[in-house]
């Protein structure tokens, strides 16, 4: 389409470019301005490419490209479709913002091994884009595993004993579940259906049925450990030992969204909504997701460490996406897809704020935040917006996704999801609003050292994402259209 390069090739370039940029980043390791310049240029270019690719997808085109065929009859291929496009847009756009933020954060905190950090960050983004564009479950699995492994050095960045232990939990749970459950499910699907392509309406109809179908579904949802369904969520709080930009982009956006994105792909394109509706599989999924939402919120209530509270909030919010898909109404599936974008914008803002507080005030606990809103008004204003989006209140993006999910549940008269959403809204308010109250209405402790906002790149980044959260409430635009296309409401 775009002149000389066809769309499929361009999709490969979008995945390959961040991966290739690591070479340049390594070469420029002695010149930090050049190195960060490369990161910025790559992230900007990648976003432009992804944005260009969105156009044909919106017009109904589904470009495909094959790279290699490692298993007889099973290619590594990319296919662009609405849901993947949405995820890719979110990940690549937020990579730009996070790169700006990273520069401020890594320099202000004098972090070590910054070259390794930027290099693996780029590989992680490439893997996330690979997950987004994967044309079949086989390709998706490959990039899914690449994402796990490339983020391991980022999680263990500090090299301390704590980091090593967290890394062990991280790798053990993510790699373990994906190999023991997910791979088994994928090979099973392959042997049964003789294809792993993502086909609207699913590929399992007539091949797997009855109890076996439910076993397969459970193998998938628990095999996709990145979706952090309880009790396989422990890697996510563990990953919080990483530098904050990693927690922000990877453990609030790329990695966890890759998880729920994969769940959505499996439900929509492997099982098919109609096939699942005939079994009790979706009911089981509703209960599993519902339990995770409530229990994770309760755990979040008791966390004093700000990043850990955010992590448990993420565990809870991720299950919204699973819940929205499990309701199986097209509008709730669209809501689930929108929630991928909505939660991403909101949660990255909250993590940016946590990192900003850590950088300028050197505080990590919620109980230390009394009166911090007076010293860092912009930062805490952004935090408030992120909070509103988490709770699902207007005027934020989080309201939109929750609305559609509720609408789908009510339309199909499923009251368990409705109850879960209502209850969790209250719980969200209960563990987020006290932080806002502390920050703005409590007096700062006596004799605390005075400080202002965090370095400018960081504050700019968090204001940008907070602004986006509000902007997309008024104009859901592209994310909304893509989500409804994925759910099958718009052809």
């Amino acid at each position: 389409m775009i002149g000389v390069i066809d769309t499929g090739t361009l999709a490969w370039i979008a995945v390959a470019l961040p991966a290739a940029s690591t070479v340049a980043i390594m070469l420029a390791r002695r010149y930090r301005d050049v190195r960060e310049g490369i990161t910025m240029a790559t992230s900007a270019t990648t976003f432009v490419i992804v944005a260009l690719l969105t156009l044909p997808v919106l017009l109904g085109d589904r470009p495909t490209v094959t790279l290699a065929i490692p298993i007889h009859g099973l290619p590594i291929k990319l296919t662009l479709e609405p849901l993947g496009m949405l995820f890719a847009l979110v990940a690549s756009l937020l990579w730009i913002v996070t790169s700006i933020y990273s520069i401020g954060y890594m320099r202000a905190n004098n972090e070590e091994k910054q070259t390794r950090y930027y290099a693996f960050f780029a590989i992680a983004i490439a893997s996330a884009l690979g997950v987004a564009f994967a044309g079949n479950m086989f390709t998706l699995f490959i990039f899914y595993e690449a994402l796990t492994i490339s983020t391991y050095p980022l999680v263990t960045h500090h090299g301390t004993d704590e980091a090593r232990r967290a890394g062990r939990t991280y790798l053990g749970l993510l790699l373990g579940t994906s190999i023991a459950f997910q791979l088994l499910a994928i090979v099973w699907t392959w042997v049964a259906a003789d294809t792993l392509d993502f086909v609207p309406g699913g590929i399992l109809e007539g091949h797997v049925g009855g109890a076996a179908l439910i076993v397969l579904l459970l193998l998938y949802v628990y095999g996709i450990g990145k979706a952090a369904l309880m009790p396989l969520h422990r890697w996510l709080p563990a990953a919080m030992v990483a530098p904050t930009p990693v927690s922000a982009l990877l453990h609030a956006v790329a990695v966890v969204k890759a998880g729920v994105f994969t769940v959505l792909k499996v439900i929509i394109y492997i099982f098919g909504i109609d096939l699942l509706a005939q079994t009790s599989g979706s009911q089981i999924l509703v209960w599993l997701a519902g339990t995770t939402i409530i229990v994770a919120s309760l755990v979040a209530l008791g966390q004093d460490n700000l990043k850990r509270r955010l992590a448990y909030s993420t565990v809870s919010q991720l299950s919204y996406v699973v819940l929205g898909a499990a309701i199986l109404a097209p509008i709730s599936v669209a809501g689930a897809a929108i929630h991928i974008a909505a939660h991403a914008l909101g949660k990255i803002t909250l993590f940016f704020v946590a990192g900003a507080i850590h950088t300028s005030a050197h505080k990590t606990l919620v109980s230390e935040l009394d009166g911090i809103g007076r010293r860092m008004p912009w930062t805490m204003a952004a935090f408030t917006i992120g909070t509103l989006s988490m709770i699902g209140l207007p005027p934020t993006f989080g309201f939109i996704s929750k609305w559609f999910m509720l609408e789908g549940a009510l339309a199909t008269e499923q009251f368990v999801p409705v109850a879960v959403i209502v209850l969790s809204t209250l719980l969200n308010a209960a563990y987020f609003l006290p932080i806002v109250y502390r920050a703005f209405f409590k007096a700062p402790p006596q004799g605390s050292p005075s400080h202002g906002e965090a370095p400018l790149p960081m504050t700019m980044a968090l204001l940008a994402t907070a602004g986006g959260t509000v902007l997309f409430f008024f104009a859901p635009g592209i994310p909304g259209i893509l989500s409804f296309m994925a759910a099958g409401s718009i052809p």
């Binding site: 290699a68 065929i69 490692p70 298993i71 007889h72 590594i76 699995f141 490959i142 595993e145 690449a146 492994i149 263990t156 090299g159 004993d161 980091a163 090593r164 890394g167 062990r168 790798l171 053990g172 790699l175 373990g176 190999i179 023991a180 791979l183 088994l184 090979v187 099973w188 392959w190 042997v191």
Partner: protein, 493 residues
């Protein structure tokens, strides 16, 4: 030129066989190294030419001295043998250039002079086993390679190498004798030793007690050579105390040749119908293979000596190959054959890493690996790549083998087996990651500066590490040859 081309199957074995005594005659170690390197690369080139020929025309037959089968000795090269020839001679070619450096550290001074002679003999024996189409000739080459192997293990510079070699000799001889007894029994009922002829005559004879006994002897004998659990007891010590390069060469080839003998006798000589429907081989092979994969992986998790850890890991990986054979379907056998090749690459890479570490630090135990991620970054990177491949992470060769293995198990409806394969592969993650954590998170024990390993050793190591990824992405060669092999072995139309 065409005279050379016509005689390639014979040259494949003859070149290293003639090279060995010449090597012994060369007085200076330096010259015998140069000569052995040239011979090994020549042998590799021949195997590539043979592979090209097999891919073009299917199968090659060659009659020694022009005596046609079943009277003369026939060399028969099909896809399976060609793949093994490439693996064995390729490993020889990759490792031989590095050998001179490593034997200076790891081989007792008295033995150094004859190292290359014995190494070429071992190479000859393995290539002969794979190339020949004659059962007794196979036994002869088996003895050549075995005797050379015992000698190579005994060359290790610790005194325990001697006892390890002795154990290896005793068990290896039992295995070889079992194979000989089996061959003798089938000769007594068929009157022939040519494999193709044997296959035809055995179908006429049918499943008599003699044939069944012969089958049992040969399977057990081959299992010992293959180090299939629980007949693996010679292997951990032999690989631990042998010089690392010898471990690398054997780890990549010797047990693989054992797998070849097993596959050849089961599918070509006795036939899958006899082996699986009459003798119910699956009922033995599958449980034993799974038990081996679990036991050996768990034992590997507790080893302090990393060469020993890798040896136990080999026992586990051999379990996967045995399982693939035992599944008796196309995907299973593809998994077995591909894994013979793939495991050769990754285990070769890992043992070469050990050779690098021993060359620079003198030992390869957990404490020497502390801080190695900084001290030997490239070497450790190869360890991580080959280790990920051992776990079976996508885009590495280990993933390809595992995929076919799990698919093969599921096609047979053996879903618990499929699950067990995946779970046992996670245990390999434990012992690999134990080393990775020590290398990247623990500070080194001392401040001595560690130099980069010499290029002659580092380049082969990197090459094998790279191949672990290359053949994990483009499998046109490995999987296609394996598919071709399953067709010639009669498991697919």
């Amino acid at each position: 030129m065409s005279a050379v081309m016509d005689n390639l199957p014979a040259l494949q074995v003859a070149v290293p066989l003639i090279g060995a005594p010449i090597c012994a005659l060369l007085i200076r170690g330096y010259f015998s190294w140069i000569f052995a390197t040239i011979v090994s690369w020549l042998t590799f080139a021949i195997s590539i030419a043979l592979m090209a020929e097999v891919l073009r025309s299917g199968e090659l037959t060659y009659y020694m001295g022009g005596w046609s089968a079943p009277w003369g000795i026939e060399y028969h090269i099909d896809a399976l043998s060609a793949l093994l020839l490439v693996l064995v001679s390729g490993m020889g070619a990759i490792i031989m250039p590095a050998a001179r450096l490593a034997i200076g550290v790891e081989v007792t001074p008295r033995a150094r002079r004859l190292f290359f002679t014995v190494a070429l003999l071992a190479l000859t024996g393995m290539l002969g086993i794979v190339a020949t189409g004659d059962a007794f000739n196979l036994y002869v080459f088996l003895e050549i390679s075995s005797l050379a192997s015992y000698a190579l293990v005994a060359m290790g510079n610790t005194r325990r190498a001697t006892t390890a070699a002795f154990n290896y000799l005793v068990l290896g001889t039992i295995g070889a004798t079992f194979i000989l007894i089996g061959i003798g029994l089938i000769y007594s009922v068929t009157g022939t030793l040519n494999m193709a002829d044997l296959a035809a005559k055995l179908r006429e004879v049918g499943p008599t007690a003699t044939v069944e006994a012969a089958f049992a002897f040969i399977i057990v004998g081959a299992a010992v050579k293959f180090a299939l659990f629980p007949t693996h007891f010679w292997m951990p010590n032999a690989y631990t105390y042998a010089p690392s390069l010898v471990s690398a060469f054997f780890g990549a080839t010797a047990t693989k040749v054992g797998a070849y003998i097993l596959i050849r006798f089961i599918f070509t000589v006795f036939g899958a119908h006899f082996a699986f429907d009459e003798m119910h081989l699956s009922w033995v092979l599958i449980p034993v293979a799974i038990a081996g994969a679990f036991t050996a992986s768990l034992v590997a998790c507790w080893q302090d000596d990393l060469k020993r850890m890798l040896a136990f890991s080999s026992v586990a990986q051999i379990g996967y190959i045995g399982l693939g054979i035992g599944l008796n379907n196309q995907d299973g056998l593809v998994a077995a054959i591909v894994h013979v090749f793939n495991h050769g690459l990754m285990k070769g890479a890992l043992f070469l890493v050990m050779a690098c570490v021993i060359l620079r630090l003198g030992r390869a135990d957990m404490t020497t690996f502390q801080g190695l991620g900084r001290r030997l970054p490239v070497t450790m990177a190869v360890f991580v790549v080959a280790g990920l491949s051992m776990i079976g992470v996508p885009l590495t060769v280990g993933f390809i083998s595992k995929w076919y293995l799990v698919a093969g198990a599921l096609e047979q409806g053996l879903w618990p087996v499929a699950a067990l394969v995946l779970i046992s592969s996670l245990i390999s993650g434990v012992y690999i990651w134990r080393v990775v954590e020590v290398a990247y998170f623990r500070p080194p024990l001392d401040d001595v500066k560690v130099e980069r390993p010499p290029a002659l050793l580092l380049v082969p190591t990197m090459m094998l590490g790279l191949l672990c990824v290359v053949f994990g992405i483009t499998t046109d060669f490995t999987v296609n040859v394996a598919l071709l092999a399953t067709r010639t072995l009669g498991l697919a139309p």
